[in-house]
Amino acid sequence: MTAPASGQGPVLVLENVAKRFGPIEVLAGINLQLNRGEKRALIGPNGAGKSTLFNLVSGRFAPSSGVIRLGERRIDGMPAHQLNRMGLSRSFQITQVFGGMSLYENIYMAVMSRYGKRWSFLRTGRVWRDIAEQTRELIAYAQLTSLADRQASTLAYSEQRALEICMTVATGPDLILLDEPTSGMSRAEAANMVAFIGRMTQGRTLLMVEHDMDVVFGLADTISVLSQGQILATGTPAAIRDDTRVQDAYLGGNVH
């Protein structure tokens, strides 16, 4: 696996980002900054605007006002495929693996896109050997080699989610966005997944939306709390747990 490109300055910056849907202001003046290697979780009660914020960063919506930067470059309003080419990779809340293909082919597709080889027709030349080799290395690192030839739709749910994390990492991103990576999993599966994500995203910058507090405390080194379209607090997991404003936002300390 290649290490993320080194560089100075924050990986992701949001300046005064607001989003309105008609008369409803979902996000108001969000300022947020992610440093290289940071693992940030975005939490908050239902309706706080987490998904909207996620959709703005991942390119699904353009913000109504404000600026989003990935590294040096402005990315607000850019389509998803260009964002990926600039170094942002995301997972989905609902599994998005290609069921008709093998696990190997799924990851191969993702590695391929890192090399900008989208239109070449033939599978010859050095670069293709590199892509095939990196695909195998990544699968080995993820300890999925025994499943490499299985058709993705025949994999167990948690295996499919693991595959998806692999694909998200395989494009070689500077920033990884995870949308509820353990949704629909049992306690034990979620714990395994946290360990797996930790291993796969080592040294990379991570922004995730997650409901499950065990997952948040297991993966994140900083937490931002979103409430009523604004960032209420940002800090280490311990500081957030003790923050009375956060406890109020979750209705009397009911941090589920």
Binding site: S58, N84, R123
Partner: protein, 311 residues
């Protein structure tokens, strides 16, 4: 026995012709889900394009020009028209391509007249490939069949073994994820549509020489290709090939039967029960209905088609 062989061969060749046109529709409708009613119009345009350009670039050059030209027409139709209505759903697509179907027909009538143009098999290809009994099998029919088979194996291999094929299959399944992996899905879809149209163009260029090249070409195959894609199973090339051959052979044999319904009723001892008008009807005259009857049965018995994996 000879008659049987001839009917079988003719049926297979007709089936392969139907497959040539359905192959493109399998990509466009079966895989991308675009209800392109004008697909057979592209087939007709292919014949005219080859007819026009063949005078300058020769027969083989005409095939190439027709393929590329119709591919371009498809590309523009997708990018300038279909893309705009895609988000409104299938009804709008159907209405738009229905309009396109008639527009293309009228424009062609305006330019070339409603009657067939003189697009003919070149003399050097007019020879008999082999003889069965008293009937001669022209080489050109073989060439049509061969084109269809090349189309089948070419498209199949491109989808299965190339990198673009991998992206196309993935984009058809999960466009959102493919886009998140950095592939430009709208361009992939435009390209796929263009290739589907180009295949129809090539089919027209080859078939227009043997069958009359007229504006009615689009009508003759317009609905049957949808039948093939539905019977074969959406998005399945193998299914489309099987369905085309079945329809071709079935139609060819039905046309060859000389009995009437009256003969059938008499054989069953039911002559008194049948309507007098029906007794005189020949079996061969229902040949045209058979594909549609087959589609009804397939839809009732196996809604996903022969090889389809989604309904």
């Amino acid at each position: 026995m000879d008659a049987f062989l001839v009917a079988l061969l003719n049926g297979l060749v007709y089936g392969l012709l139907v497959f040539m046109v359905s192959a493109g529709l399998t990509l466009v409708f079966g895989m991308m889900g675009v209800l392109n009613f004008a697909h057979a119009s592209f087939y007709m345009l292919g014949a005219y394009a080859a007819f026009l350009s063949g005078r300058y670039v020769g027969f083989w050059g005409g095939l190439v020009v027709a393929t590329l030209a119709v591919g371009l027409v498809g590309l523009f139709s997708e990018r300038l028209l279909l893309r705009k209505v895609r988000s409104f759903g299938h009804t709008q697509e159907l209405l738009l391509t229905y309009g396109l179907f008639f527009m293309i027909e009228e424009v062609v009538k305006l330019l070339f007249g409603p009657t067939p143009v003189a697009y003919r098999v070149p003399d050097e290809l007019r020879f008999t490939a082999f003889t069965i009994g008293n009937s001669q099998f022209p080489f050109f029919r073989l060439l049509m069949g061969a084109t269809a088979l090349v189309m089948f194996f070419g498209t199949f291999a491109a989808l299965r073994f190339t990198r673009i094929g991998l992206i196309v299959r993935a984009a058809v399944e999960r466009p959102q994820m493919v886009s998140a992996l950095g592939h430009n899905v709208p361009i992939v879809f435009s390209g796929l549509f263009a290739v589907g149209s180009a295949l129809a163009g090539l089919a027209g260029a080859v078939a227009g020489m043997y069958y009359p090249t007229s504006p009615a070409m689009a009508h003759e195959l317009g609905s049957i290709v949808f039948v093939v894609v539905v019977i074969g199973g959406l998005g399945s090339l193998n299914g489309a090939l099987a369905a085309s051959l079945l329809i071709g052979v079935m139609t060819s044999f039905a046309v060859g039967i000389e009995s009437t319904f009256g003969d059938l009723f008499r054989a069953l001892g039911l002559s008194g029960l049948a309507l007098p008008g029906l007794e005189a009807v020949q079996f061969s005259s229902i040949a045209g209905v058979l594909p549609y009857a087959l589609m009804l049965f397939v839809l009732l018995w196996r809604p996903a088609g022969f090889a389809g994996n989604r309904a």
